[in-house]
């Protein structure tokens, strides 16, 4: 089995690169920044996919959990932990952000026992708005002005570590006994109850894991952007993550990684400066007017192109790029073998059909 040592080896190389790139400036600062955003977006997308893809709910609260994680971690590094003297304390702050978000995840998990579908979606929306409104009304944490001057503690190795960790946890969760429970809730909650799946415990776990990683991503995001305010975490942020989930494909870890990467990179590629850098080989006669045109117009039009692309993807691939499919890599061996014996597992049943 050649694959046995392939994954650890790749991870080791990846980790080594994550350390080496910022240390020796192998790539320019902008590319490094984009890589960190890709990592954070992968964490957000994979964790939201657990609830929205695997469990078949429609949560809009992800930006709210992100805000909780971001504010918890930022307040810790600014006011409590002496991170200036001991930068090693930063992971504690990130962890605290994640745990705080996980605890608040219960606020959404408990109603989900009773309410499903569109109405649960509205409860998650209400949760998001309440989080934002509460932050806006507490003046000691900056109120609507937010927290400026957060230390830049998020580094490429940390983002790499948390990204790998979140993928590992979600992947193992999904293919565990509880993961089967999550899938069975999506297909038919009553039936899975009858088959003695403890749906409450499964929902608890799914919401807590999902919000935990949203909090982690928020904490990393805060220490990368160095400024947070309630406006950063509004419904538009949730929409971004939703787009990455459904672009990549529901119930697919590979799809989430792909969706987050494609969306983040594409948005960056459409920036005027990036396009200019890519076209720099053109002769000046052609390049200069083009560049001028892009600087003036591409900035706004790229935000028009992106949603249009999303709609086109949905029209031609309604399930997203990798919807309900998975890279062989993420599937455990026993499942692959079971797959060969009897095809159609998980099946092509409608996902999130009528409740």
């Amino acid at each position: 089995m050649a694959q046995r040592w392939l994954l650890p080896a790749l991870l080791l190389v990846g980790f080594g690169l994550a350390f080496a790139i910022p240390e020796y400036n192998l790539l320019n600062k902008y590319v490094q920044l984009v890589m960190m955003y890709v990592g954070i977006n992968i964490i957000l997308t994979v964790s939201l996919n657990l609830v929205n893809g695997y469990m078949g709910e429609f949560s809009l609260a992800h930006a709210g959990f992100m805000a909780v994680g971001a504010y918890t971690a930022a307040l810790l590094t600014q006011k409590v932990l002496p991170v200036a003297a001991y930068p090693g304390l930063f992971p504690l702050a990130v962890l605290a952000g994640g745990l705080m978000a996980a605890v608040l995840g219960l606020i959404v998990a408990v109603p989900s026992f009773k309410v499903r579908g569109d109405y649960l979606a509205i409860i998650t929306l209400a949760f998001l708005m309440i989080v934002k409104s509460v932050i806006e009304n507490i003046d000691t944490i900056g109120g609507p002005r937010g927290i400026p001057g957060i230390k830049k503690l998020t580094t490429l190795p940390w983002v790499f570590f948390w990204t790998v960790f979140s993928i590992w946890v979600v992947r193992n969760f999904v293919y565990s006994k509880y993961g089967r429970g999550v899938l069975s809730i999506r297909e038919d909650e009553i039936a899975s109850d009858l088959m003695s799946v403890n749906t409450r415990r499964v929902k608890f776990l799914a919401f807590m894991v999902s919000s935990f990683f949203a909090g982690i991503a928020g904490a990393l995001f805060a220490h990368l952007l160095q400024f947070i305010s309630p406006r950063v975490f509004d419904i538009i942020k949730t929409t971004d993550v939703l787009i990455m989930v459904y672009l990549g494909g529901i119930a697919s870890i590979g799809g989430s990684i792909l969706g987050a990467t494609v969306y983040t990179v594409l948005l960056e590629l459409l920036r005027p400066s990036t396009v200019a850098a890519m076209l720099a080989w053109l002769p000046a006669v052609v390049f200069d007017p083009l560049n001028e045109y892009f600087i003036r117009h591409l900035g706004v039009w790229r935000m028009v192109i992106m949603p249009l692309l999303l709609v086109l993807v949905m029209l031609y691939w309604p399930r997203g790029i990798m919807g309900l499919r998975e890279f062989r890599w993420f599937i455990p061996k026993r499942d692959l073998e079971a797959h060969h014996r009897q095809p159609a597992h998980g099946g092509n049943h409608g996902v999130a059909h009528g409740h």
Binding site: V115, I190, I235, I243, V304, P307, V311, P318, G350, A352
Partner: protein, 295 residues
Amino acid sequence: MSEGIVYWLQQTLNALQLGSIYALIALGYTMVYGILTMINFAHGDVFMIGAFFCFLAAVYLGLPFAPTLLLTMLGAALLGVAIERLAYKPLRHAPRVSAIITALGVGIFLENFTLALAPYPKNIPALLENITWDLGGVSLSSLQVIIILLSLGLMFVLDYVVHRTPVGMAMRAISWDKTFVPLMGVPLDLIISITFAIGAGLAGAAGTMYALAYPVIDPYMGIMVGWKAFISAVVGGIGNIRGAMIGAFILGGVEIMVTAFFPSTYRDFVAFTLLMLLILVRPYGILGKPRTQKV
């Protein structure tokens, strides 16, 4: 009249104005949901486009109020039908979530497309001569009267169309069943298009009135108003037309009263907490009926 009562009456009037704008938008959400069980998240942005149509008609064509309103409603209705035909119809048999995400995409597209064409907020000229009457301390403007009466009028017309005409009967039939009703000769696509046209037209009317009441418009104005209207529809019981109107007036009332008696930043907090509690107690809304779950 004592000062307290005057203040209450004044705020009630403001609540009626806000509630009637929410109601016009909420109707579009609830009608589309009733027929397609789909949340049309682009609807708030159709409202925003309505306000911009109003701006175009008033400034570039120099039209007075009535033609502006009609043109805006017509333009918004056409936009609604176009969105349905191009983006939602191909997804009618796809998973429900695909249609919702497409709607979100269409909404963001409309916002940013408008932003690309109109980067700065626009001022709407005063289309109506605004007279303010003083009724024992309560000030009542002619604009408020027009907004409230016009909205109520449109709602009565809609209620009549849905409950008393053949088209309305077809709409209700299709919301009941999409497989057999078309076999009885009801044109499915046409009725769905009419539903979108009516819903979007009402959103266009709401856009005009909003622009007249709060005369600075920008491409992102539809997001928050749209979500609030959506919440109104849910509070009333989504899919239920009369429920949407009641929900909108309740939400408008709560918002205005919270702002009147507490710091205005508590508005969203109170509104959304009430919403959350309501859904936990009565998940199907005020007028909605609990759907029996089949095993």
